[in-house]
């Protein structure tokens, strides 16, 4: 394992260093004293690389990433996993706004809470199915314009599970929420259902992974029933035009 | 038309003009009388129409060789005092006097002509990083803000003399034959309409650059906007002004050498660049053309540009205007017509015509007699 | 006499051979011997001649210039007697010809079964496989003002002859040994169809029957008696039971024969400078993949050409063909390919469609077409021939095979593009 001290380092240099190490065959890189460096892992294509970050990485962590695992020991800022293609981001803390914006594949695990507009315009394609598991709560506009993939909100730490306008303009994918349906304003385009057996089967591997990463009890997670938010149509705006 | 009106026109619109140009340089910086250049430019009298002529000589003020010398013309009463007040605030005026002139009957609208030899009081005020930029700014300020004043020469140990008239008349007026210089350039103007303003005559100068020009720059509009971005305000609406500023910007500020400068001003065609076999040179040519796209001089021109250490004759990239060069001993001559050279040097060693866009660059040998010669290359 | 190339037979196989040779060798001497007395004629045209649809002048399928342009020495009225394979010499009734390369394209000769009362000398009995016979027949019909005739054999030759005779308003009695007309090329349905058409034209068809006895008066035929007992008075009998390869002169020459002369894929016999093509040769049947006689014009043309190319030192391979026939009976066109009637339905799949005026049948084996019949409407049937020849798997578009608008569009894209734009467009 190789270590980099990112203290005072500008993001461009940091990314260059990480890339150079990865190209030389390095499989695991630990970066300490991360503070505000943006775009860590931008467009990375290193399939079996793992990056351990200590500190607070800057915005757009893992933007356009295409297969690398990033573990963050700390909170992350805005735009984590922006337009991500594949790979995995695990955050041992909270995440900021627009986490997983437009992500098309890969996985994001957040131990704590996420900010506003999380999973906005997530989409899926063929066997690419993005998944985001959030241990805590999410802000407003969760899964807005969501077109595919799944978001799982666990609410393990209490607080308001989700904010208003979840699933606005949603036309694909599923949001799983743990616990009773919160008393918030939902987007017009969604419906809420109880889970069927097969739904539990679908989310199980991700919950297991979540429990594994964050060392929490799977039983505790299952103690509370899940519900799911799904779009009523994948053509939400088909009828507002006069042809 | 009233003088004021004529001046207004001259100062507010660009007047295209045809011209004759001539230049003589002694490579060893040996000074010689202005008579030679007068004789040369007068040979091409038919290239002008009596509405403008002028001379620039280098090495003419050896006693003040380290002082900035401003030639200023005043055509409004009271303006002189204002300008001098402005100058005193910035400079120590070492010497000042009316420019000596002789009465020539045919000349009219003659302004008050005065020269100042200056030392900069507070060299680097206003965050300017060089003396030259300070002088530049001073000239710009006077020319923009003082309506009745015009600085028409602002170098060291050099001076520009110009006015509305035929070249022989202007020479007589300023006593050009009385001055001795090592480089001379001259201009005979043919504007396309009547002008009465002496400031509109050529050469045009800034710092120790002086420039005479024959032709019209069709790219004027963008060259001007480009220069304004760099802090050069074109108050004279002449192509020559733009060319002079471009030389100052590129050669002095951006430190391009004259060859590179020629790639900018008379850019080689893309096809030519494509054919260049020296990879490094090719890259540089292309690069310069891209970066200085707005500085390219497009349209017909033949120019002679001088400063204290160099004389350059150059054509546009298609050679749409005439230019001839000749050399004998340590002299190099450049002119619109060969006759203008033959007149003063009947048997040159070599006579040639420069290629389109390829400048004739004559560097002066350093000469201890005439102070330091600045090298911009 | 000596020649570089010697060709026995002047029909399509021989002529194609000339074209094959000349596509490679422009100068080598070519001698063609023919036992007939006419420079060039198309054998299948004899029924049209008989019908009076074309004149004697139009019988040629190649003009006289053809022989001139290709510098062919054509020797008529020569009958091949034997071949001296050791000395590369053809022995004929008029002399010997030495050759470097020989093509046997002697075609076939009509089969005349043993019938009681038959004699070569009886007038009014004809075969129908050569122009000379056809000429004699036509002359006889016209001179004798024949108004009814018996044709023995309901195969292709018999029907062709019938077609010709029908034009002379002759009532035809057709005697066929098997249970249906054109038994070798058509199934029962199609056969019935043909039979109906013929009957509408005034023909009488006797199936499962044959002529047992021929009666003659004054050395002229007067009556035939069928096996079934039926007696038909007639002044004209055409024996059209088939042809056999003309291999009589090949006997004891060492050239291997089965029913016809055996050839390899280069149309070469077991003797390295002797080739055979046309009705006399046995080539590969693409459908059965066996060596067999396919006595049809296009096969003869192809074989002759391939033989010619190989004789001249080129290299061409005969990939095999399959039986196919086109015939028009009383204005109804019929085209058939390959195996059209099968009994063993386990191995075959049959697709059929009929609307009373047309009939279409496809026989499939392992999802490949092995045979088909088109009756009434025959346009674009060649596409099916292509599918058979290229052994295209039709599983994907089977349901379209019988469609009215069946066309190239239905075919697999790759094959279609091959046909449409491919450089090897011939398929």
């Amino acid at each position: 394992m190789v270590e980099i001290d990112a203290g005072g380092m500008y993001y461009r240099l940091l990314n260059e260093k990480i890339k150079a190490l990865a190209r030389s065959g390095c499989k695991e890189i630990t970066v300490r004293n991360v503070c505000g460096q943006r775009y860590i892992g931008a467009g990375f294509d290193f399939k079996d690389l793992r990056i351990n970050l200590y500190g607070t990485p800057g915005n757009d962590l893992g933007v356009f990433i295409n297969g690398t695992e990033i573990l963050v020991n700390g909170n992350v800022q805005d735009g984590t996993g922006n337009t991500m293609n594949s790979g995995r981001i695990v955050v041992y803390g909270d995440a900021g706004d627009i986490t997983g914006h437009s992500m098309r594949g890969g996985e994001i695990f957040i131990k704590g809470n996420v900010g506003y507009r999380t999973g906005i315009h997530m989409k899926e394609y063929k066997d690419m199915r993005p998944v985001m598991v959030i241990g805590g709560t999410a802000g407003e506009f969760l899964g807005e314009y969501m077109a595919g993939g799944m978001i799982i909100i666990l609410g393990l730490n209490g607080g308001n599970l989700i904010g208003n306008y979840a699933g606005t303009g949603m036309h694909g994918g599923t949001i799983y929420i743990r616990g009773k349906t919160p008393d918030v304003i939902f987007g017009k385009e969604i419906k809420i259902f109880d889970l069927e057996e097969k739904d539990y089967k679908t989310i199980m591997p991700y919950l297991e992974r979540f429990a594994n990463y964050f060392d929490c009890s799977l039983e505790k997670i299952y103690e509370t029933k899940f519900r799911k938010i799904v779009p009523v149509t994948h053509r939400p705006y088909g009828k507002i035009y006069s042809y | 038309m009233e003088y004021e009106q004529l001046k207004l026109i001259e100062k507010s619109v660009k007047i295209p003009s045809g011209c004759g140009v001539a230049g003589i340089v002694n490579k060893n910086a040996n000074r010689f009388s202005g008579e030679m250049i007068v004789s040369s430019i007068c040979m091409m009298k038919d290239r002008g129409n009596g509405l403008g002529a002028g001379y620039a000589g280098y090495g003419i003020y050896p006693e003040f060789s380290d002082k900035w010398c401003l030639h200023v013309m005043y055509d409004k009463t009271g303006e002189k005092e204002k300008v001098e007040e402005f100058l005193e605030a910035r400079f120590n005026i070492v010497e000042q006097e009316p420019i000596p002139v002789r009465k020539v009957k045919s000349l009219s609208f003659i302004p008050v002509l005065h020269r100042y030899f200056l030392d900069i009081k507070n060299k680097f005020s206003d965050n300017l990083t060089s003396e030259e930029d300070f002088i530049l700014e001073t000239v710009m300020k006077i020319n923009r803000n003082f309506d009745g004043a015009c600085v028409f020469s602002s170098g060291k140990n050099m001076g520009i003399f110009k006015g509305v008239g035929h070249p022989d008349e202007i020479a007589e007026f300023y006593n050009i034959h009385n001055y001795k210089g090592y480089t001379w350039i001259a201009h005979n103007r043919f504007p396309t309409n009547t002008v009465g303003w002496w400031g509109g005559a050529h050469p045009f100068g800034i710092l120790d650059w002086a420039c005479v020009h024959n032709g019209e720059i069709s790219s004027y509009g963008i060259n001007r906007r480009y220069l304004e971005n760099a802090g050069y305000y074109c108050t004279f609406y002449t192509d020559t002004e733009v060319i002079t500023y471009l030389f100052d910007l590129l050669c002095r500020r951006h430190k391009l050498n004259f060859e590179m400068c020629s790639y900018v001003l008379a850019s080689p065609f893309w096809e030519e660049i494509e054919r260049e076999t020296d990879v490094k040179k090719k890259k540089l040519m292309k690069f310069l053309r891209i970066i200085y796209a707005s500085a390219m001089l497009n349209g017909p021109f033949a120019i002679i540009v001088a400063n204290s250490s160099v004389l350059i004759g150059m054509n546009d990239r298609l050679k749409l205007r005439p230019l001839v060069a000749a050399s004998k001993d340590d002299f190099v001559f450049v002119a619109s017509e060969e006759s203008a050279i033959r007149k003063i040097c009947p048997h040159p060693e070599r006579v040639w015509m420069p290629e389109a866009g390829k400048p004739i660059i004559v560097h002066l040998q350093e000469n201890k007699n005439y102070g330091e010669i600045k090298k911009y290359k | 006499m000596e020649t570089k190339y010697l060709i026995i037979g002047n029909s399509i196989a021989g002529v194609s051979c000339i074209e094959g040779i000349r596509s490679i060798d422009n100068v080598g001497k070519i001698v063609v011997v023919s036992k007939e007395d006419i420079q060039n004629y198309s054998r299948p045209l004899i029924s049209y001649y008989l019908a009076g649809k074309i004149s004697e002048n139009s019988m040629a399928f190649r003009s006289a210039e053809f022989y001139k342009e290709n510098s062919i020495e054509l020797i008529l009225n020569v009958t091949a007697l034997s071949i001296d394979t050791k000395n590369n010499t053809l022995i004929t009734n008029t002399g010997n010809i030495r050759f470097e390369k020989l093509l046997i394209a002697s075609g076939g000769s009509p089969i005349v079964p043993n019938i009681q009362g038959y004699s070569k000398d009886i007038q009014g009995i004809f075969t129908f496989t050569s122009f000379s016979e056809a000429k004699k027949l036509k002359k006889y019909v016209e001179e004798e003002k024949i108004d009814n005739a018996v044709i023995l054999g309901g195969g292709l030759i018999g029907l062709k002859c019938a077609e010709g005779l029908l034009e002379h308003n002759i009532k035809i009695h057709m005697v066929e040994l098997s249970d249906r007309l054109l038994s070798s090329t058509l199934d029962k349905d199609a056969s019935n169809f043909i039979e109906t058409v013929l009957m509408e034209k005034g023909c009488v068809v006797y199936k499962n029957d044959t002529i047992e006895n021929i009666y003659s008066e004054n050395n002229k035929i007067s009556k035939v008696k069928l096996k079934s007992g039926k007696e038909i008075e007639t002044k004209l009998l055409v024996i059209a039971v088939g042809v056999k390869p003309e291999t009589s002169f090949v006997k004891d020459t060492g050239i291997q024969c089965n029913r016809g002369i055996l050839v390899d894929q280069f149309m070469k016999t077991n003797i390295s400078n002797i080739f055979a093509a046309g009705d006399v040769a046995e080539g590969k049947n693409l459908i059965t993949e066996k060596s067999s006689l396919i006595a049809i014009w296009p096969v003869a043309a192809r074989q002759g050409k391939i033989a010619g190319i190989n004789m001249a030192g080129g290299s061409a391979v005969y990939e095999g063909m399959f039986p196919m026939n086109a015939v028009e009976i009383a204005g109804v066109p019929v085209i058939s390919f390959g195996i059209t009637a099968v009994d063993n339905l386990e191995n075959y799949e049959i697709l059929k469609k009929s609307d009373g005026k047309t009939y279409k049948k496809i026989v499939l084996h392992n999802n490949k077409i092995v045979g088909s019949i088109f009756l009434g409407k025959i346009e674009r049937s060649g596409i099916y021939a292509g599918l058979i020849k290229n052994q295209i798997n039709v599983a994907e578009f089977k349901s379209f095979l019988l469609e009215e608008d069946f066309g190239l569009l239905i075919l697999p894209e790759k094959y279609r593009k091959h046909i449409v734009v491919g450089d090897g467009i011939e398929v």
Binding site: - | - | I12, S16, S42, R43, P44, L45, Y48, K53, I54, S58, A60, F61, R62, S63, W297, P298, A301, R302, K305, M324, N325, A326, E328, G331, P333, I335, F337, I378, E379, R380, S381, G382, I383, A385, G386, K389, N390, D405, G407, L408, L409, I410, R416, I419, V420, V421, D423, I425, E426, V427
Partner: protein
């Protein structure tokens, strides 16, 4: 002038307008003027084009003028012949007896039975008397074009 050898079909660009047929018929009829010809039913020719259409795919196919043309081999009268100058496979109506051997062997299925003279086969002659076949010249989308012997596309310019 390079002589066209065959018409190549870009089925992916056939728009199914069937103008090729109209121009083919016009060209081969004695009238030559579309409106009068159609209006007065003076259609003296038939199109040498087989037009196929299924779903969104369509194309017009004409005689391929194959290098190794089966119809030439199968013709019992010599009516089908290869033009020496242009390499085209042409058909002499006068000689044809309508035996349908050509129809039988053409793997492209483009030898048609003439409707006006039932005993004669008919097919594309690549507009032997014109620089470009009428169908090619009038195809609005270059879904058919001509190539020379080497398979090179021939265009007007």
């Amino acid at each position: 002038m390079v002589k066209p050898k065959r018409i190549i079909i870009k089925e992916e660009y056939c728009i199914g307008c069937r103008l090729c047929e109209i121009y083919c018929v016009t060209k081969h009829s004695c009238a030559k003027e579309i409106i009068k010809m159609y209006k007065e039913k003076k259609i003296a020719s038939e199109s040498g084009i087989c037009f196929e259409e299924k779903g969104s795919i369509s194309f017009a196919i004409q005689c391929r003028h194959c290098d190794d043309a089966p119809c030439l081999e199968a013709c019992i009268t010599g009516a089908m012949f290869r033009d020496k100058d242009t390499g085209r496979v042409l058909h002499n109506k006068e000689k044809c007896v309508g035996c349908w051997m050509c129809v039988m062997v053409c793997p492209v299925g483009v030898v048609k039975i003439s409707q006006s003279e039932k005993r004669v086969a008919s097919k594309c002659d690549l507009c032997i008397d014109r620089e470009f076949p009428a169908c090619v010249e009038n195809c609005p989308n270059e879904a058919i074009y001509v190539v020379d012997y080497e398979g090179k596309k021939i265009t007007k310019e």
